[in-house]
Amino acid sequence: MKQLKENIRSSFSRVPLLGWLFGALIAVWLEHLAGDPLAAALGLPKIPVLFGCVIMLKKPVLIPAAVIYVLLIYALPVAAVARLSASFANRLAARMLNLPIFFSVAIHLGLLYAVLHMWSEMSAYRVITLKLTLIAVMLTLSLNIINGYMGEFSCSHPGFMALGAYAASAFTVALFVEDKLFGQALLPSALGPFMFPLALIAGGMVAALGALAIAIPSFRTRGDYLAIISLAFMFIVKSMIENLEVVGGPRGLSSQPDWANLPTVFGWTVACVWIINNFVRSTLGKALNAVRDEETAANAMTVDTRRTKIIAFLFAAFWAGVAGGLFAHVLRYVNPATFGIQKLAEVLAMVYFGGLNSVYGSIVGAVSLSLLGEALRPLEILKWLIIPLLLILVMIFRPTGLVAFKEFNVKNLVKPRQRRKE
């Protein structure tokens, strides 16, 4: 038995990322072809949207059917294709590595996008879950800059998100939509999709400007000041928007144009991960770790610690603002109540669950908690017992999170896998 397990492990350890992507692609293609008939044959009401989790929790009688579906559509095809294509994928990955790294990364991202696109095409629910998950990745990663890499404790992320969401919405609604708050559209809507990046960047800039108001007083010293000031900032932003009739006050702001489609959200998420990863791996970014670990020494080694902290804080706020702008255009409706303490708890949980000081960690944390939140939805109130319990377990057994302090090295990710040497 043990021998068998060892054999399986060693044969799959040779599969490169490219192989897994091939497998996933085949699996989602299979679902396109055979998903509906298979679900009908197994007696399922429709295809299981989130790998059967929701169905299993709703109707326990259907557990065997859902498990069979997941095995036949996902698990077996992915495993088989990944294993069979391993040597081909390895050769391909090795050949691509001879070209500039950009090429290999683009191929991997293209495959990943194809998988996500085909998977989400099966239902509208999958599309929205996927978009919100990608936005959660951006939020978590940007908060990780402050709470993980820099080691401060910031509570203002929902506030930055709100600033970004409202600024970007005001930009697009005022310019491109006929709306009772802002009146006539000022520009033809054909220009819209090209201006959308500008709207998001404007949202990010407004968030960064808000961050400056926190950064200047709180980075004179270290300690709990930032936590307190940033918490206050979040509430101030929330009640400011509630009292700002021009953006709809507590009723919220709606009728955002439908520009945040899957490729757009995916593209921004990739840009966010790429730029943040570049930053934290540069020597300028490493200065954040030095400030966190030993600020006096950082200062004595010529690091301008105050400037470093302010820049990182503004940078994180910028990405939270961009994520907020996307969020508003995905839901096409925002109201201030969204950006309260619950959102804060969500983002903090993702950061600490996934792992501090780690891009992998943020991706793992955001994806797993987002999907878990959706999958456990049928449990209703019990969901809010299970997720915190999980968090507590992670805090006990891995105090810094699941994948903390791990460098996100793209080259290692896309390289071919060698047979493990015994």
């Binding site: 730029i275 570049n278 930053f279 540069s282 020597t283 300028l284 970014g285 490493k286 200065a287 770790n289 030095a290 670990d293 030993e294 006096t296 020494a297 950082a298 200062n299 004595a300 080694m301 010529t302 690091v303 301008d304 610690t305 820049i311 000081n357 302090f405």
Partner: protein, 256 residues
Amino acid sequence: MPLLRVEKMSLDFGGLRAVNSYDLEIEPGQVRGLIGPNGAGKTTVFNLITGVYRPTEGNIIFDGKKITGLQPHRIASFGLGRTFQNLRLWRHMTVLEHVKLAQYSKISYGLIGAFFGTSGRRREEAAIEDKAYSLLELMGIDHLADQVALNLPYGAQRRVEMARALATEPKILFLDEPTAGMNPEELAQMMAIIRRIHAEFGLAILLIEHRLKMVMELCEIVQTLVFGEVIAEGTPDEIQNDPKVIEAYLGTEALH
């Protein structure tokens, strides 16, 4: 002109005068010592000159510039490097990252380079990495470059710290008890290292030390600090035989 001149520098902590009218002149390439019993204010003098504390009175002139009251990172980037008595290494960083980061003030690729990974950034990062490796080699710890510094044995940590301080390209190096907690063998190695960097870089060095033997061997001129005041200054021989110094170190009875 001296490289570093400190004039009548004093510091009050509330009602307590921690340092009183401290004077110092260091010529380029000179090695000086600062000795004194525990709590005499030696580290405070370092912290004052390097900008961690701001003097209540007095002036500090380094390389022709007045640096009194400037931020520590600016003072450091002028060429005033230091080590710490209690090491203060960065907990999660590798040895190589330590030495690379200490070259922070020389980085010119800016935020654009940091965000987008430009070719300028790759070039600069490669250059500071080369420099870091050469310093690690000098310290004899280049084989440990990828280790997390805090996992290393104590002697190696001291070398990391020394390499880190040298990476800031100091003209003068402040060493705060570099042999604290070392056994005789490590002590001899550390003395050799200090001699080597002095010879190689032509640095001026200000050394705080508890062990008189080390100060006597390395330093040209030694100051003795007691209760924040310099009670004696001179060559190691003069200091060793100064009754006030003996009294401060060994008590009054030793004189009789």
